[in-house]
Amino acid sequence: MKYLYISFLFVFLVACSNQTSTAIEAQNRDNTKNISEQDSNSLSVYQIEGDWLTQNNKKTTLPDLKGKIQVVAMIFTSCQYACPKITDDILAIEKNIMPSDTDKVGFTLISFDVERDSVSKLKKFAFDKKLGSRWTLLRGTEEQVRTLSMLLDVNYEKQPDGSFNHTNIITILDKKGVILYRYEGLEIDAKAIAKKIKSALQ
């Protein structure tokens, strides 16, 4: 009976937060504009070393992502709802970016599923979702992925059935890999984010 009430309460609270859950724009890092060259290197997410593999079976490192603004999310390809949704959200951002800027922006998905998301699985996911040439899908070791999740402030946990519990976060990185913005949740405003990216490019 006790549990009945507890579940009652949970559903109540949860339903409530669902409705209002919209993307939260993370604070811009205190004064991004004034970060010196050296600082920006030391604040770069790309400091995580190690090799990764792309959906095209190409060996790569995170610093290879430098030079473009990157829109980044962590996903796993067998995910039923949230990850396809995040991917769609990023596609929507891509659509809202001015054609003149498209070469200055990259889109990167990193898989939680180090065991099952093989290169071919990543490739298939990219194909199914019609992810173009500006997209990079990466697989790495569990340790690399865990460390990246720490930097991107993404929580995740592997479930006994092989799927993952995770938070849904889209991160915008500058050309050096420093976090510019974070968006949490599944209801993002693609137009507004595209605008932010545009102004960051200037």
């Binding site: 009976m1 009945l4 579940s7 009652f8 309460l9 559903v11 109540f12 609270l13 949860v14 339903a15 409530c16 937060s17 409705q19 209002t20 859950s21 604070q27």
Partner: protein, 491 residues
């Protein structure tokens, strides 16, 4: 099977409820100038029983609030300490006062020496968790979040970190007042009082550092129910003060975690209460119910000076667990409202219940005693019964209790004082030239005992009056008179 159905329907109900209960921020299409932010300031926070002054402003402002969580050992009662978890170093937490429409930028800091993460759920916030998730803060860190105060009212805030009951039980709560547009009617004095219950390993009053007791908390059996975080925090030397006739407003909160408060002030009536801290008012209220994690604003004035006691009128909490606070009202008396005691008369019914007290052995069984026997029995009786008022040396207390030693009043009486001891005495009398106007109660002595004590009194302390016999006492009891005639008593 049935449980399952109940479960299902409860879930459905919950969803429906959730759907309706989620407040959508009111859409403000008419961007009235009145509602746009005009300036900013940092909120001045106060510890109970103080309340920040109202900053009467017309248009909403941006308000910055800085609140620090401090874990520390403090006094819970005399000789008893507790590891409190606090918003601002005291229990209850700091009082926050803002205005409807204000935009609040909230900084919650968790002191680096703290052991626990904490957060804050402000009931004044419209949004998931009331800010709890946004403000989850590790020791040595500060969280920032913002909200718009959409609804006016008096709201509880509390920590909502797991296990929530323990964080509240350890002292993590306070009040935030969102003043309605236009403000409240000004009053002379404002105070902040918050009730809460504590669950300690030891019983009420057991000294030393007391740990939180989850078992008692689950059973909802508090050892302490207090105002403002400790026994005596708002009474005695810490009492609140006001003057006769001043309009007093108290912002009252109840943190629980379990108890519901029957808030009452002994000796006054609330002129106005703002029910549950909201917009509706009620008048001429004696006791108002404040739910756990609820609040109320009470307004009243005291017309007569004195000490007024605030209680949770679930009265054992007040007198046995600490739920007691005081306001001392000073100023001139007004006897048309309250006269204080004008007279104190003993009520001696002709055949009241008092006379049903198992009475003395029946007269027939009593025997006359020798002088020596009566003196020794009477001496013991005197010490036990009479000395409390007439003093052991029978000299009495000037102005209050007349002397029995060498008392002309006693020694000259024809009844030897028997009727006084038998029925009590009431009214103005003169003893050895001094006036007394007190009350001596009826003493429930049997005839033998009366004979003993009067024999003793009349032959001690310099008195010389001879034996008082049982027969004499019985005669008076029957309404007769003694043979020896003396002066008549005034009575």
């Amino acid at each position: 099977m049935i449980t399952k159905d109940i479960f299902k329907s409860s879930v459905v109900l919950a969803i429906i409820l959730a759907f309706f209960s989620c407040r959508q921020p009111a859409k403000n299409n008419s961007k009235d100038l009145k509602d746009t932010i005009d300036g900013e300031y940092e909120a001045q926070l106060t510890d109970a029983p103080k309340v920040p002054a109202s900053r009467n402003y017309e248009r909403p402002m941006k308000v910055t609030v800085h609140l620090e969580v401090v874990e520390k050992e403090m006094r819970l009662a005399d000789g008893v300490t507790y590891n409190f978890w606090t918003f601002g170093g005291h229990v209850p937490g700091k009082f926050i006062r803002i205005r409807e429409g204000d935009e609040v930028e909230f900084y919650l800091s968790n002191n680096p020496n703290n052991k626990m993460p904490h957060n804050i759920d402000l009931h004044a916030v419209s949004g998931p968790g009331g800010g709890a998730e946004a403000s989850m803060t590790a020791p040595g860190h500060t969280s920032k979040f913002s909200f718009k105060a959409l609804n006016s009212g008096l709201y509880v805030y509390h920590c909502a970190t797991a296990p929530v009951g323990m964080h509240i039980g350890n002292g993590m709560y306070g009040l935030i007042y969102v003043e309605p547009k236009g403000g409240l009617e000004p009053v002379d004095k404002e105070f902040y009082i918050m009730q809460s219950d504590f669950y300690t390993k030891g019983k009420y009053g057991e000294s030393g550092l007391q740990a939180f007791d989850m078992e008692k908390a689950l059973r909802e059996q508090p050892d302490y129910v207090v105002f403002n975080g400790s026994v005596g925090a708002a009474s005695g030397d810490n009492a609140m003060h006001a003057k006769v006739g001043e309009m007093i407003r108290i912002f009252v909160g109840n943190a629980g975690p379990n108890m519901v408060s029957s808030f009452h002030i002994i000796g006054t009536i609330f002129d106005t209460i703002r029910i549950e801290g909201g917009t509706q008012t009620n008048h001429n209220i004696q006791t108002t119910l404040i739910p756990a994690s609820g609040a109320c604003i009470v307004e009243f004035s005291c017309k007569v000076p004195g000490v007024y006691t605030l209680v949770d009128h679930s009265i054992f909490r007040a007198f046995n667990k600490g739920a007691l606070a005081q306001i001392e009202i000073t100023g001139p008396e007004d006897s048309t409202i309250f006269s204080h005691k004008q007279a104190d008369a003993v009520y001696l019914p002709e055949s009241g219940i008092v006379q049903d007290v198992p009475s003395a052995p029946v007269a027939e069984m009593l025997e006359e005693r020798t002088m020596d026997a009566r003196l020794s029995l009477g001496g013991a009786r005197f010490k036990n019964t009479c000395a409390a008022c007439h003093m052991a040396n029978a000299e009495g207390i000037p102005g209050s209790f007349p002397p029995l030693a060498k008392s002309d009043f006693l020694m000259n009486r024809s009844d030897k004082g028997i009727s006084i001891v038998m029925h009590g005495l009431n009214g103005k009398i003169t003893v050895n030239g001094k006036e007394y106007d007190g009350v001596m109660p009826q003493l429930q002595l049997n005839d033998d005992e009366i004979a003993n004590v009067l024999t003793y009194v009349r032959n001690s302390f310099g008195n010389k009056g001879g034996l008082v016999t049982l027969k004499e006492v019985q005669a008076i009891r029957k309404g007769g008179k003694l043979l020896e005639q003396g002066k008549k008593s005034k009575k």
